[in-house]
């Protein structure tokens, strides 16, 4: 769909022999294995963590002897359930709201008078370190407005963090969107709602899912802003953070919990992405 004026440059090709090195068959494996090595580095500690979660002394660095005691402790001690539920709920809310708002703004933004300037404004939180924005929102809400902090302020902090990501993902699609489709539809007498629902929405769908997913994920693991904005509430990462600093170590439990999350999310996400591809192929 998208063509830049760069494409015509390909016709002004320099003699082939000058670029022979670029035919080297090793480039592709190099790119592939470089990335796979990174994936290995991401997952090696996770596998180690899973192994340690069934070890008796997880911090010692030696997995033996094995024991399921941390899993028993995890299910016996229900203190983590509340923060875990709170995290899921806030993350869902952030995902849904940022996907919706990003879709609305993302469709309207390219047609405003100064999209570049507005875009920079909306992307601003990406350039403000987490603790700084947390402190800024905290000072503003507490010292200036004198509001009591709680889930609402965590939500705002997370939304401000997630929105730029969601917006960018939506913009990648809306800016490539062919307006002629909509115009054709309205020429054919379709109502604007119908043309949105039948034409634009399906085309934007991958972006909307991506925006929501990013919102959910960013919120679920957020800690830098949350510690300023939580008031008396606790999310999962904050609970982990407090526990890691305490003497009554919950780290083995955290390992066990992380392993369960890993085992649940891996097939779920793989399935979701596979569905997305299957769907994209059909349309």
């Amino acid at each position: 769909m998208a063509i830049s004026e760069h494409t015509h440059l390909t016709s002004t090709t320099t003699p082939q022999d000058r670029g022979e090195w670029s035919y080297w068959s090793g480039w592709k494996p190099l790119g592939k294995w470089g990335g796979l090595l990174m994936l290995f580095c991401i997952y090696f500690p996770l596998a180690w963590l899973a192994l340690m979660s069934i070890s008796e002394r997880p911090l010692s660095g030696i997995p033996l002897p094995f024991s399921l005691q941390h899993y028993r402790a995890l299910f016996a001690d229900t203190k983590w359930v509340e923060p875990f539920g709170a995290s899921i709920l806030i993350a869902l809310l952030v995902g849904i709201v940022s996907a919706t708002v990003a879709t609305l703004v993302g469709r309207a933004l390219p047609r405003t008078r100064n999209p570049g300037g507005l875009l920079l404004l909306f992307l601003l939180p990406l350039f403000v370190p987490g603790m700084s924005l947390g402190a800024a929102l905290f000072i503003f809400a507490r010292s200036v407005l004198e509001l009591k902090l709680g889930f609402w302020s965590i939500f705002i902090g997370h939304f401000v963090w997630a929105f730029p990501f969601s917006l960018l993902i939506i913009l990648v699609l809306t800016t490539r969107f062919d307006n002629r489709l909509i115009e054709a539809a309205s020429d054919l007498g379709a109502s604007s709602w119908r043309s949105f629902w039948d034409i634009e929405f399906p085309l934007l769908m991958p972006g909307i899912i991506g925006a929501g997913l990013f919102g959910f994920l960013l919120s679920f693991n957020e800690v830098l802003r949350t510690i300023f904005l939580r008031g008396t509430e606790k999310t999962m990462p904050v609970w982990n953070w407090i526990m890691a600093a305490s003497q009554q170590s919950q780290v083995p439990i955290i390992f066990a919990l992380a392993t369960i999350v890993l085992l649940v999310t891996l097939p779920l996400l793989a399935g979701m992405f596979w569905l997305v591809f299957a769907r994209l192929d059909k349309s």
């Binding site: 480039w27 991401i42 963590l49 924005l133 800016t175 679920f220 693991n221 793989a270 596979w274």
Partner: protein, 311 residues
């Protein structure tokens, strides 16, 4: 895609026709201004308030609301501003390395003839780390990279080295290492999204016209993927600047970065210092971005990016 349409998108005429068609449905006339008001309230105003705090001081856990430049002066006298420069340097290095490893990988994933299943699995593998607590993932590396850790045990056990390698942990190297691993997905995902939507026909056309693979990459794929590359840089640079877990867990206290310094200031409730540090790094970033934009404009790449975005 027609040049006429391209021109139209930016022109007032195009704007009118577009908005005229859909204004009734989504009311998009007020969407952006309305959201702008909310955004100002939850982002811009707090940042301005934070900035104004940098002109106050903290004495004995109480903020003294007596405007002065004292906090700014002490920031430079104590050398505390160095943490911003260090953070920026490390964040930029990490971002550059990510791009170097991430771009070829994204290219392979999107256009390397990978199957649907491979794509789904790799994308899932790239997404899952977001779900898992960063500190418990990072803490593991200490047991692997330490003096008596896994790597050193293997190396000394096989007599490859005589004494354990010390620079693998509690140095800037280990902080870089931890950050590169943590931010790899944030670079690959947007780049992949951008490359994936490039039309195969364009690449084939370029090859038919006798372009070498490098020329196709340079003249077709890379320009078209620039939005994704920029998004990847931004997605990586921002969080890398705010890195907190990696420097405190792998840096051994010797790599004092912005978030660590802010956390320390917090032990004495020094909001003004937090404010001044934050302001300083945002200004540095702004300067950096302007330089990047100017350089990009010189080569004409960026304007074409926006045109790509718009077409």
């Amino acid at each position: 895609m027609s040049a006429a349409l391209k021109a139209e998108a930016g022109s007032p005429a195009g704007t009118t026709r577009w908005t005229g068609g859909l204004a009734a449905m989504s009311g998009r006339n007020w969407v952006v201004p309305g959201f702008l008001v909310i955004w100002t309230l939850i982002v811009i105003v707090p940042l301005v308030v934070l900035f104004s705090y940098s002109f106050f001081e903290t004495k004995h856990f109480q903020t003294v609301y007596d405007p002065s430049f004292d906090t700014w002066i002490s920031l430079f006298q104590s050398g505390r501003f160095e943490v911003t420069l260090r953070s920026l340097r490390i964040a930029l290095t990490v971002t550059a390395i990510e791009l170097l490893i991430g771009y070829p990988f994204a290219l392979w994933l999107a256009k390397g003839g990978t199957t649907k299943t491979t794509k789904a699995v790799v994308l899932a593998l790239l997404t899952i780390p977001f779900f898992l607590d960063l500190s418990s993932r990072t803490i593991i590396w200490r047991a692997i990279l330490g003096q008596n850790g896994l790597v050193n045990s293997i190396l000394t056990g096989t007599n490859l080295i005589d004494a354990p390698i010390e620079w693998m942990l509690y140095t800037e190297v280990s902080v870089h290492f931890g950050m590169i691993i943590a931010f790899f997905p944030t670079m690959v995902l947007p780049v992949y999204l951008a490359i994936n939507v490039i039309d195969e026909a364009l690449i084939e056309a370029s090859e038919d016209l006798g372009a070498t693979p490098f020329q196709t990459l340079k003249n077709v794929i890379f320009p078209l993927s620039l939005p994704g590359v920029l998004a990847g840089i931004v997605f990586t640079l921002g969080p890398a600047l705010a890195a907190w877990v990696e420097p405190s867990m792998l840096g051994g206290g010797f790599v004092n970065l912005l978030s660590n310094s802010i956390e320390s200031a917090y032990t004495a409730l020094k909001y003004p210092v937090v404010a001044a540090l934050s302001t300083f790094i945002i200004l540095l970033l702004a300067v950096l971005l302007i330089i990047m934009l100017l350089i990009a404009r010189r080569f004409g790449d960026l304007s074409s990016t926006f045109r790509v975005l718009k077409s």
